[in-house]
Symmetry: C2
Subunit: 444 residues, 2 copies
Amino acid sequence: MLPRMGRGPSTPQPITSQPVSTALLTDHYELTMLQAALADGTGERASVFELFGRRLPSGRRYGVVAGVQRALDAIEAFRFTDEQVEFLRRDEIVDERTAQWLATYRFSGDVRGYPEGEIYFEHSPLLVVEGTFAEAVVLETVLLSIYNHDTAIASAASRMTWAAGERPCIEMGSRRTHEEAAVAAARAAYVAGFARTSNLEARRRYGVPTGGTSAHSFTLLHDTERDAFVSQVDSLGAGTTLLVDTYDIAEAVRTGVEVAGPGLGAVRIDSGDLADLAHRVRAQLDSLGAHDTKVIVTSDLDEWAIAGLASAPVDGYGVGTRLVTGSGKPTSGLVYKLVARADDDGTMVPVAKRSADKASVGGSKRAHRRLDASGTALAEVVTLDGAPADGRDLVVPLVRGGEVVGREPLDASRERHLRSRGELPIVARQLQPGDPVVPTEHPS
Amino acid sequence: MLPRMGRGPSTPQPITSQPVSTALLTDHYELTMLQAALADGTGERASVFELFGRRLPSGRRYGVVAGVQRALDAIEAFRFTDEQVEFLRRDEIVDERTAQWLATYRFSGDVRGYPEGEIYFEHSPLLVVEGTFAEAVVLETVLLSIYNHDTAIASAASRMTWAAGERPCIEMGSRRTHEEAAVAAARAAYVAGFARTSNLEARRRYGVPTGGTSAHSFTLLHDTERDAFVSQVDSLGAGTTLLVDTYDIAEAVRTGVEVAGPGLGAVRIDSGDLADLAHRVRAQLDSLGAHDTKVIVTSDLDEWAIAGLASAPVDGYGVGTRLVTGSGKPTSGLVYKLVARADDDGTMVPVAKRSADKASVGGSKRAHRRLDASGTALAEVVTLDGAPADGRDLVVPLVRGGEVVGREPLDASRERHLRSRGELPIVARQLQPGDPVVPTEHPS
């Protein structure tokens, strides 16, 4: 493991943040559709929406479900405040009937879906939302925002942690993405195996472990690098991580060990040829008797760079930009489609559009993962509701009658991810672009 | 212009949202550096930080500044609440002295920088933050998050609106990005010339015009497409936009004009070969006497697709995924570096790291844009503070003594962008990758 980067107890203590309405994180057209459907009576038709991806982002072998717990938060907080309803009324976005309907809105339906950390493939029904059309359609935008973002980050993170093997990955990309996306990214990366994050709000809100020591500015602030190192070690202890590439790396390593002693926790290299530098720094540390001092590398790392450093004497990877931008796939292409709705007599009718290249499959779905005798995944089996089970059941209840029933601790999602990833054929670990490693069988 | 997509007054009425603390949208190491610097006294050294990019995202000819007003909001809201300080104390992230310092934190320094909507290039000093090291360093993460995200979106959006010419671009990417990033993206796109957004919170919070009518689910909800169109026209009027590609486009267009009459506002095509379909639909609309009915296209558009549709009879472009992901450049590579700080005797000393490939230039900067006699930009002139002016001054005061002085309405930023983009050599409009169209002269 890494030396502690910054003080703190080993068990973070999340605090529940203030509930904030998520109701306007919504596309305008959800409310115009709602208005028309309330007016003609179809808004009360029982409906089934499905959240899924027609394909994985190109070249990806598997995807990782994330954002489930955030989506449950968003559903609970999907209430229109008086101020919000007044805004919609004043701007004439909706008519009076719709404004009154929204003022008492509360999702009362059912949601089931893949739990957080689970692996997913093409056409996996990540969420199935059942309720009236009116109550289910308005959730579309915020559910897609959360899933498209969080799964993109977790899917990239999983490739990185798999490439890193036993070595810890540290998420430090907050500054490269929207300030709230950063909090969600830190959380999603943790689900997919990252050891910790730099993001303090992710620790406060979700209990993700954090770490951090110093930047180049801290060295530049001081008259000499030695002054900076002395100050840092005085403040954070000899177990801290010293950043050694502000001026000359070899000199900084020598100074660092002189200042902190051979018990120096770690050094961090943030520029240059990291493999070459890691070898040099490791040798220098050993020659100085600092055999337990770790070498941490950072600087535009991604899964390929991490894999390329496998044979270098590196003890941990800090990952920023490439993690928070999904390593080239910053969004997941997930959609939210009406797949069934009631007729006038209450009979459920499967529905699907026939648009070119965007056809969907009607009907409420279930999903199982078929495994071989050794427990390796063979197929993602998506069936219409009611078909016989074929493999491990992938879908769990999340909301029943408007009440959230799918809560779980973040570490449960993290453990599920490791377990589920372990079921994949080993080729899934290869970084080259390819087809999904597990084919999806689905009704069509 | 587009027909109205949804009801609403022409002047949106923003409402100030609840102030929320931004103080924990911060990397852990900002606070560990702070603690060490407070302990050794260097935290009180006068310091200058600069926010800039060493280069534009690869192939980009220019960048667009966005997020300025959001950054001012974030600075004002950068206060540690009692709950936040207690969290930092309980988790031992900072020591007691630092916790007390944070409890009364309030930025008291000066900030100047490029105003929102301005064009920027390599080494443009987008922000110059002056204060003590302690008060300026802690703003690093949140300022970078805002600038790296919002400039990435605005820079992509500007290419799209330039490619679209007089035809309006409509932002509809909320579902493809983090739910709060979506709000900021809608705002940044508007700064860079988008006509409107689908995002309701962007309207409420920032006054960005919104529009929206219906999705495929609305058609599928009804027993027939005609039922859906009748319902929509009853609710939103004949000036609405009907989505015509759920089943058969030609049939939908015919039905739409029958239902709404030749005064139908617009039809939207969301799949297939858009150029071919636009020609067919235009011809069909004309044959039905619906000469004023507009044709709106959506479906994974980006600046290249928009340019490719220039000769097609299209009246507006809806842009989603590619806008909110920065059209391949989802982040801007901006950094926040200490460039000068006081010595023990108070003398300001320029500072810069010498890391491989990441060297920076010490000293507080100014910037001007040198123009030729016709008003076309020739060079970005970055100088050390105090050098003579050479062109149009690019830097304005934003915060003075901790008080925000750089507020402006969103439309002022939007107008500035058009004006500033108009100064660029016309080659800047080309979409091919290339070097920055205006070279930066800077001290080094």
